[in-house]
C-alpha cells in the first residue's frame, strides 16, 4: 500500500504570465521527474491535481491541459493565498510535488455527436481549457462548438493569445467579452451571462459547460434554462477548501457529497438535489 499523501516530484518546465496585477494568473507547465510516471500519468478533462510546495503547503488545481497532451500537465493559478503566492514566486526548473489525478471528470464520451457550448469567466476557464483542447484534438467526434468567455477587462482575460488564435479557426466559434467598455475592444461588452443571451445557442442536441465565479454561474444557469436547456444538459464544477483530496479530511463536503472525490463536475440536475452550503 502506497502512502497516498506522498506526491511525485515534478519540475516547472515553463511559466506563462496570463494576467498581471493584484489578481495575477500564471500558467505552469509541469513535468514529472520520473519518466515512467510522466508516461503512465493519465487523467480525464475536468480532473484535478494536488500541487505541493515543500515547506509551504498544498493546493488543489483543475488540470488546464488536455489528456491528449501527454508530455506535461498544466495548471493555471490565480495568486490568492499562501501556497498560490509562493507558487507565483517559483521559477522555471524549480521542483514541486504533484499527486492525483483526483475527482470525477467531464463525460466527454457521452457528449460525442453533440454541439458543445462552453461558458467561462476569469480563472474558471482553466478546467474548460482542458476539455476544449481535448475536443479540438477529437474534433470530428463533436458537432458545433461555441466558446463564450469573458473577464473584468481585457487585461484580465486568461489564455488570451490562445483564444485569439482559436477565434481565427472556422471549426470553433469564440465569443469574448469584457465587463466595461475599453478603447479598441471589438467584441462584446457586458457580463458573460448577457453575452450568452446575445448569442442564444440552441439547446437542440447541445451540452453547456460553465465554470467561473459563483455569481456568474448562477446567472449563466438561469439564462441557459431561459434558452430552453434542461438541467441534465448543463454541467459545472464546484469548489471547496480541500486538504487531503481523497475524501478523508472532511472539509469539502456539500450535503453527503465530497467535492474532492465525488466532484468537481456536477450536472445542474444533480446540483438541484444537493442541499447545503457552497
Amino acid at each position: 500500500m502506497n502512502n497516498p499523501y506522498k506526491p511525485w516530484l515534478a519540475i516547472i518546465e515553463n511559466i506563462t504570465d496570463e494576467v498581471g496585477g493584484e489578481r495575477a494568473i500564471k500558467t505552469f507547465i509541469l513535468k514529472f521527474k520520473d519518466k515512467n510516471i510522466q508516461e503512465t500519468f493519465s487523467f480525464k478533462p475536468g480532473q484535478c491535481i494536488m500541487v505541493s510546495l515543500f515547506g509551504v503547503g498544498e493546493c488543489m488545481f483543475a488540470i488546464a491541459s488536455s489528456p491528449t497532451e501527454k508530455e506535461y500537465v498544466e495548471v493555471s493559478v490565480m495568486r490568492h493565498g499562501k501556497v498560490t503566492s509562493a507558487l507565483h514566486e517559483a521559477k522555471i526548473g524549480d521542483t514541486l510535488g504533484v499527486r492525483g489525478p483526483y475527482g470525477n471528470s467531464f463525460n466527454v464520451d457521452d457528449w460525442i455527436g453533440k454541439n458543445m457550448v462552453f461558458i467561462g469567466g476569469g480563472i474558471g476557464q482553466a478546467p474548460l481549457r482542458s476539455v476544449i483542447h481535448y475536443i479540438m484534438a477529437n474534433r470530428k467526434k463533436y458537432d458545433r462548438i461555441d466558446v463564450i468567455y469573458g473577464a473584468r477587462s481585457s487585461k484580465d482575460l486568461c489564455f488570451k493569445e490562445e483564444l485569439f488564435e482559436l477565434e481565427k479557426r472556422n471549426d470553433i466559434n469564440v465569443h469574448l467579452s469584457i465587463d466595461k467598455e475599453e478603447h479598441g475592444w471589438g467584441h462584446f461588452v457586458g457580463f458573460v451571462p448577457d453575452n450568452l443571451l446575445e448569442i442564444s445557442p440552441s439547446p437542440e442536441n447541445t451540452i453547456a459547460v460553465t465554470c467561473g465565479p459563483p455569481i456568474m454561474i448562477k446567472f449563466v444557469i438561469e439564462n441557459l434554462l431561459k434558452l430552453g436547456f434542461s438541467p441534465d444538459q448543463i454541467f459545472t464544477t464546484l469548489e471547496m477548501r480541500m486538504k487531503c483530496g481523497i475524501g478523508k479530511c472532511g472539509r469539502c463536503n456539500i450535503d453527503n457529497v465530497y467535492v474532492c472525490k465525488d466532484g468537481p463536475v456536477f450536472s445542474y440536475e444533480q446540483l438541484k438535489s444537493i442541499k447545503g452550503e457552497r
Binding site: 500500500m1 502506497n2 502512502n3 497516498p4 499523501y5 506522498k6 506526491p7 516530484l9 505541493s52 515543500f54 515547506g55 509551504v56 503547503g57 498544498e58 490568492h80 493565498g81 499562501k82 498560490t84 521542483t95 510535488g97 469548489e239 471547496m240 477548501r241 486538504k243 487531503c244 481523497i246 475524501g247 478523508k248 479530511c249 472532511g250 472539509r251 463536503n253 456539500i254 450535503d255 453527503n256 472525490k261 442541499k275 447545503g276 452550503e277 457552497r278
Partner: protein, 338 residues
C-alpha cells in the same frame, strides 16, 4: 472460555513481550489509553477513557512524510509502527474504529491508518456500568457489542467470561495456558450482567427514519437555536471516537521539514475558509448543522452506519451542555421545510 482474575497480570505480561500494549491508565482524575510496560500500570475499574483510543490509529499529530529541501528534494515515508494490542477497550470505541475503517479504506486507501489497524489486536471489556450519558443501544450497539473486537471479556466476579470473536483473537488466547472452558453457570452470569448493563441505560436517541427527518428540516431556524450557546470550542469533535477530520501542515527547520497531519474540527470557521476569504459555512449554525448531519444523515446515506456509537463523551464534556440526544430528539418535533 474463562480466565481467573488473578491470572490476568500473567496474561498481560505475556502479550507485552511481543506487542506494544495500550491499556486504560489512571491519569490524575481521568483514565486514558496509554502504553503500559507492566500490568500494574493499568486500571480496569473505569467507565470509559476521557479521550477515545482512536488516537492510537489516528494520532493527534503525525508525520505523513519528510522532505529535505537541499538541491535534490527527497521524500521519505515514516517507518511503520510495530504490532499493537489494546487491552480493555469498550465495545463502543471498538465499534467506532469499524466506522473509521470505512472512511480510511475505499478508492483511496490511507496506508498509515490502515497498517496500524491491521497490526493491532483489540481485547474488549464489556461495559458493565454504563455512564449517565451513554446511549449505545440507540445506535445499533450494546454494552457487550463484539463488532470490531478480537476478544471480549466480561467481568463476572472473580473471573472474566471470554468470547473469541476472530481467529487472531483465538490465537492469542490459545497461546496462554490460563484460559479454561466456561461452564453453564459462567455463561448465565455473563448474560445477567449484560442485561443489567443494557437495562441501566436510560437515555435514548430515537433513530427511526432519522436521516429522512433531518433532510426535511435542513432549512429550519432550529439549527440557529441549537447553535446559540455553542462556543465553537471543538471539544465534541476531539473527544468523539468517530470524528476523523484532519488538517495537513508543513513544518520546517532549516533544510529539513515534514508534512504533518493534525486533528482538525468542523466546529472552527477556518476549517472551510477559502483563500479568497469566502466561507461556505460562516456561522456556528452552519457548522453544528453539518456535524449533526454528518453523523445522522451523511454517514448513514454513504456508509449505512451512524457516525455515532453513543459513548456520550460530547455530552459530558461540552462546556455549555449541548446534548446530542436532545438535539436529535427535538429535531423530530420541528416543522418541516416548505
Amino acid at each position: 472460555m474463562i480466565i481467573d482474575k488473578n491470572k490476568i497480570n500473567a496474561f498481560i505480561n505475556q502479550i507485552i513481550s511481543d506487542h506494544i500494549v495500550f491499556a486504560p491508565v489512571k491519569n490524575k482524575d481521568m483514565v486514558l489509553f496509554k502504553q503500559i510496560k507492566k500490568p500494574d500500570e493499568m486500571t480496569l475499574d473505569y467507565n470509559n477513557s476521557r479521550i477515545p483510543p482512536k488516537s492510537i490509529y489516528l494520532p493527534q499529530t503525525e508525520t505523513l512524510f519528510r522532505f529535505s529541501k537541499n538541491q535534490n528534494i527527497n521524500l521519505e515515508t515514516p517507518k511503520k509502527d510495530g504490532r499493537t494490542l489494546l487491552f480493555g477497550i469498550r465495545p463502543c470505541d471498538a465499534k467506532s474504529l469499524k466506522i473509521l475503517d470505512q472512511v480510511f479504506t475505499g478508492e483511496y486507501k490511507d496506508s498509515l491508518y490502515l497498517s496500524r489497524r491491521k497490526n493491532s489486536i483489540l481485547i474488549g471489556l464489556t461495559c458493565h456500568n454504563p455512564s449517565l450519558n451513554c446511549f449505545c443501544t440507540s445506535v445499533n450497539s450494546s454494552p457487550a457489542d463484539t463488532d470490531g473486537l478480537d476478544v471480549l471479556l466480561t467481568d463476572i466476579g472473580d473471573k472474566y467470561y471470554v468470547e473469541l470473536i476472530t481467529s487472531r483473537g483465538g490465537k492469542i488466547v490459545k497461546n496462554f495456558p490460563g484460559f479454561k472452558p466456561a461452564n453453564k453457570e459462567d455463561k448465565k452470569k455473563k448474560e445477567e450482567i449484560v442485561k443489567k448493563a443494557k437495562d441501566s441505560i436510560k437515555r435514548h436517541i430515537k433513530s427511526e427514519r432519522l436521516a429522512s427527518i433531518l433532510d426535511s428540516i435542513f432549512e429550519n431556524k432550529y439549527w440557529e437555536e441549537i447553535a446559540r450557546k455553542c462556543l465553537g470550542c471543538g471539544i465534541c469533535t476531539f473527544l468523539c471516537p468517530t470524528c476523523h477530520c484532519f488538517d495537513m501542515q508543513d513544518e520546517t527547520a532549516g533544510d529539513k521539514g515534514a508534512r504533518i497531519r493534525v486533528w482538525d474540527s468542523c466546529m472552527y470557521p477556518e476549517y472551510t475558509m477559502q483563500a479568497s476569504g469566502y466561507n461556505p459555512r460562516p456561522y456556528q449554525m452552519n457548522r453544528i448543522r453539518n456535524r449533526v448531519f454528518h453523523k445522522f444523515n451523511y454517514l448513514p446515506k454513504n456508509n449505512q452506519v451512524f457516525g455515532c456509537v453513543g459513548c456520550g463523551r460530547c455530552i459530558t464534556e461540552c462546556p455549555v451542555n449541548i446534548d446530542i440526544i436532545e438535539v436529535v430528539n427535538q429535531a423530530r418535533e420541528v416543522k418541516k421545510d416548505e
